[in-house]
Amino acid sequence: MKLQRVVITGIGAISPFGNGVEALFDGVFSNRSGVINLGAIWKESITDILCEVGSAISIDLNEKRIPRDFRRNMGRVSILACLSAEEAVQMAGLSLEHFSSGDYGVAFASTTGSSKSLYEFMGRFIEDKSLSSIKSGQFFQVMSHTAAANIACLLNVKGRVISPNSACSSAAQSIGLAYEAIKYGLQKGMICGGAEELHVTTTGTFDLLQAASCHYNDQPDKTPKPFDKDRDGTVCGEGSGAIILESEDSAKQRGAKILGEIIGFNTFSSGEHMSRVTESDLVAGIERILLETGIALGDIDYINAHGTGTIQGDSEESLALEKVFNAKGYTPYVSSLKGHLGHTLGASAALELIVCLEMMKKGCLVPTKNLENPDPNCGNINYLKEFKAVKPRLIMKDSFAFGGINSILLLRSYENGN
C-alpha cells in the first residue's frame, strides 16, 4: 500500500480574538490576551467560585446565518465548530460535492457537548420531572459528538465521521486520527480539529481541582503564566479551530494551495492517574514519535508546548523536554500560547497548530505571554520570552489531557514539496 503524504489546505478559527484566522493571528502576533474577568456573571451560578477569569468570545456570532433546521441542533460549541469549519472549507476551495462523495470525512471533538444546553436541559428536567418542555434539538446539542455530527450534517458529509472526545487532547487526537485516515488511504481528505465553549461549570471543575488561576482576578491579562515561578493555574477559554487535511495527491490534483504538512502523530496514555501527567510518560511518548517518524532531535526547531500554567503540569512537561532534548545538547525554542488564548481545552491543539502555521509563514516565533521568570522547578529548556525572527521548518505540538490522554503532532513546512 502506498502511504500518502498528508498536507494542510485550509484553516478556520474562531477565538477570543474574534471570528476568523486573521483575527486570531492579529491577537497573538500583537501579543494581546483574550482573558477577561467574568466573576460577576459566574457568581450568579456558583457563589463560591474562586477563579473569576476566562478567555471568552465576546463578538456576536451571527449564528442565524446557519439555516434553522441545522442550527436547532447546535449548542454554542457546535456553532463555533461549524463557523470555523466553514472558513477552512472555503479556504481549501472544497465544495459540497467533495463531502458528499464519501471521500472526505470529519474528525472533530470537544471536551463535552454544549455545557450550557446540558445545564438548561437537566435544570428543566429535574425541576419539572417531565419531558413536556424539552425541545427536540436539546439532546443533539448535548451529545458528546455534537460538534462532529453537526459539521457533517451542515456539509452533507458521507465519509467517516469520528469524534475522539478526550478533553484537552480532543483536537490533537482528531487531527491525528484524520492524518492516519488519509495516510493509509482510507479518505482523501478530512475536516479536523476541536471546539470548546466556555461555561461556569467548566471553570468550576478546574477550580474544584485547584488547577484554575485565582490570584489574578483583578489583572486578567496577567494570567495564565505558563512555566513562570508565579503561575497559579490555568484559565479556561473557548473557541474552535478547523483544519483541512488532504492527501498530497488530491490537493495537487485540485490545484489547492498547500499550507503545511503533518508528518507524525502519537497518542499515548499515562494509564495510572486521572489528572497527573508525568515526565517519564512524556519522555516515552516523545521518543516514540521520533522513532516512528525517523526525525532526529536536531531537526525540531520549535516546540509548541501544552503549557497550561498549572504547577505540576508545566513542571513535568518542561522536565520531559529537558531530558529528551537539552540534556543531549539540543536546544529547540519552546513556548506556550495559553498566555494569549487561555486554555481552550478541546479546541486548544487546533487553534495553536493554526498559529504554528502562521509562525512558519511569517518566520516569527511567538513567545509565552506572561512568562517573566521561569520556575527553577521547571526544566532547563530554551524558553521564548520575546518574539524571535526564526523560520521554523519542523514544529512539535504537545497536547495533554485529563484522563492521562497525551498526544503529539509533528508539523512540517511545505515549500515546493520539500
Binding site: 434553522r68 433546521d69 413536556s132 434539538g137
Partner: protein, 84 residues
C-alpha cells in the same frame, strides 16, 4: 379566545419558532409540505403551543390527535378544543 385570535397566535409561533415568513402562513397552509416542518419540528411545535396558549398537552391522551395535525387549520381546531 376567538378563532382569528388563535390564528394570529399560531402564526406568531411559526414566525418566532420556525422562522417562517408571516405572509406565507395561511389557515390552509400544510405545515410539513408547504411550511417545511419535519418530525423534529413537530416536537418543538408542542412545546411552543403550550407556552403560547398556556396549557399542558398530555402526551399520552393528546398524542393521537397531535399526530394527525397536518395544517394550520388543524392546529387552530386543536387549540380551540383544548380551550373548551
Amino acid at each position: 379566545m376567538e378563532i382569528n385570535e388563535i390564528f394570529q397566535k399560531v402564526k406568531k409561533v411559526f414566525v418566532d419558532e420556525f422562522e417562517i415568513e408571516e405572509n406565507l402562513i395561511t389557515k390552509e397552509s400544510l405545515i410539513f409540505e408547504e411550511l417545511g416542518l419535519d418530525s423534529l419540528d413537530s416536537v418543538d411545535l408542542i412545546v411552543a403551543l403550550e407556552k403560547a396558549f398556556n396549557f399542558k398537552i398530555d402526551r399520552a391522551n393528546d398524542g393521537p390527535v397531535i399526530s394527525q395535525i397536518r395544517s394550520i387549520q388543524d392546529i387552530i381546531k386543536y387549540v380551540n378544543s383544548k380551550q373548551s
